[in-house]
Amino acid sequence: MVHWSAEEKQLIASVWGKVSVEECGAEALARLLIVYPWTQRFFANFGNLSSPTAVIGNPKVQAHGKKVLTSFGEAVKNLDNIKGTYSKLSELHCEKLHVDPENFRLLGDILVIVLASHFGRDFSPACQSAWQKLVGVVAHALARKYH
């Protein structure tokens, strides 16, 4: 089980409390598809992803980004059992979606950058550290049921 200090929990909760899941989720997914274009391989049915503008404006990207970040919220609510929280999602990503777990790490890093751009100087090194740890734990949990 992952150990979270009181400070880490507080830093995570305080950021999460101010996050617009819809906005940040859409932005994080869009940036993933733009910065690492090979990730578009999972979204062939999303329509127009031909340019950064197209990706950002794509309603399916926005909706899916919101869905992904909403799910991320489950980790924030269940810091002491992230493994259990993502057990089924891990199986899904392996067996049905066939997503290389490296993509979870890429998305996690992008999410941290999106948070940094929204929170500016409030996103202190300690804050970043807690969030890098969280995205790493989530990525690990999502990869855990792979076979």
């Binding site: 910065v35 999106v114 940094a116 500016g120 970043q128 890098q132």
Partner: protein, 142 residues
């Protein structure tokens, strides 16, 4: 992975905008890297890594200068950083994974201080540039 003309101009614009803040950005990048990725501290057992460390500030300045130099010679990063590449291969031997960690922290610093600058397109270009720098610095490892 190749830097397009757009990538190059995006990167030059970023460093142009950052200007004199580059030294501070370098120091903050290191500070964040040591906080978020404690294993990176293993390369600096001889440093005081506490808050406000003069050594970290000085080293951040060096790192920033190298990035600025690469950006200013973006058509030939390998040439511009050749000596640094030798140094990393022969003396420093920093494991290649760490360049990605440094790059992540640099992007976070830019995002914190200049969010408007880091549009998705610029983010992509800057990420590619940082990868390219890492690749050059590890190119002579074996």
């Amino acid at each position: 992975m190749v830097l397009s003309a757009n990538d190059k101009s995006n990167v030059k614009a970023v460093f142009g905008k950052i200007g004199g803040q580059a030294d501070a950005f370098g120091a903050e990048t290191l500070e964040r890297m040591f906080a978020a990725y404690p294993q990176t501290k293993t390369y600096f057992p001889h440093f005081d890594l506490g808050k406000g460390s003069a050594q970290v500030k000085a080293h951040g300045k060096k790192v920033a200068a190298a990035l600025v130099e690469a950006a200013n010679n973006i058509d030939d990063i390998a040439g511009a950083l050749s000596k640094l590449s030798d140094l990393h291969a022969q003396k420093l031997r920093v494991d290649p994974v760490n360049f990605k960690l440094l790059g992540q922290c640099f992007l976070v610093v830019v995002a914190c201080h200049n969010p408007a600058l880091l549009t998705p397109e610029v983010h992509a270009s800057l990420d590619k540039f940082l990868c390219a720098v890492g690749t050059v610095l590890t190119a002579k490892y074996r």
